[in-house]
C-alpha cells in the first residue's frame, strides 16, 4: 500500500494530485509534502483527491493542518473530489464547511481566484 503524490503548477497554484489510500500509515507522507510545499512558498494549494480510494481521520487531520499552514500566509487550500464515499467522510465530520470542495481542478482554481 502506498500513496502516490505528484505536484504541478497551474498559474499561481500548486496542484497536488493524490492517489491511493490515506490512512495512519501513509498520511505522514502527505503531511511532509504539504509542509514542503508551504516551505517552498506555495501558499495557494489545490489537493486533487479524485484518485484516493480511502481516507481516514488521520488524513483529514493532515489536510486541516495544511489548511492552517497556508492560511498563516494568507493562502488557500482547495479540494477536488467527486467520489461520494470520500465526500461522505467530509460531510460527517463537518469539514465541508471548512474546505471548499470542487468537482474539477479548473473549478477550484477559478473559485480560489475570485
Amino acid at each position: 500500500m502506498d500513496l502516490d503524490l505528484n505536484v504541478r503548477k497551474e498559474g499561481d497554484h500548486a496542484v497536488l494530485g493524490v492517489g491511493g489510500e490515506i490512512d495512519v500509515y501513509t498520511a505522514p507522507k502527505l503531511r511532509e509534502k504539504l509542509i514542503e510545499l508551504v516551505s517552498d512558498g506555495e501558499y495557494h494549494l489545490v489537493v486533487d483527491l479524485e484518485k484516493v480510494d480511502f481516507l481516514d481521520s488521520t488524513g483529514l487531520g493532515v489536510l486541516v493542518g495544511g489548511l492552517k499552514r497556508v492560511r498563516n500566509h494568507d493562502g488557500s487550500l482547495q479540494l477536488v473530489c467527486t467520489q461520494e464515499k470520500i465526500l461522505k467522510i467530509f460531510r460527517i465530520t463537518g469539514l465541508t464547511k471548512v474546505f471548499p470542495i470542487h468537482s474539477s481542478v479548473a473549478e477550484a482554481i477559478s473559485d480560489s481566484a475570485e
Binding site: 480511502f54 481516514d56 481521520s57 483529514l60 487531520g61 486541516v64 493542518g65 461520494e84
Partner: protein, 149 residues
Amino acid sequence: MASSEPASAVVHLAFPPEPALLGTVRLVVGIVARKAGVDEEGVEDLKVAVSETCAVAVGDLTWAGLSTPIELDLVEEPGRLGVEVRDRAPAGEHASSMPEDGEVDDRQFGLALVGALVDGLHSTTLEGGGHSTRFWLRRGREELPPPRA
C-alpha cells in the same frame, strides 16, 4: 424478513499493531462484508469504521510499548454483520492527544467517525487490561429481527 437463525460464519483476524497492516485488514473486511450481503455504501462505511478502530488500538499499544496482537471478529448475525475489535493496551494508556502542529486530535476524530458510520457502538475495558469495541452494520435491506432479551 425476520429470522431466528443462529449467529454463524465468524471470521477471526489477529495481527500485530503495525499501521502498514491496516490496508490488508480493510481488504479482508471488504471481502467479508460483500460476501455477507452488505451493500457497497455499507462496505465502505465498515472499512472506515474497522480501520479507525484498529488504528486507535495500534496507537494505544504502540504508546504502551506493546506488540500484542489486535484481534478482529466479523460475525454474520441475522440481518446484520457484527464487529468486535480487541486489544490488550492498558486502560488509560492511549496515544493522546498531542496532534501535529496545526492539526486535530485524530483519536477523537476517528472515534466520532466510527459512531456516525455504524450502529450499536459500544466499548468496554477487558479484565486484565485492554479494550473491546463492538458495533454492527445492517446487511441488505431486510428488516432486522427484534433484539434478543
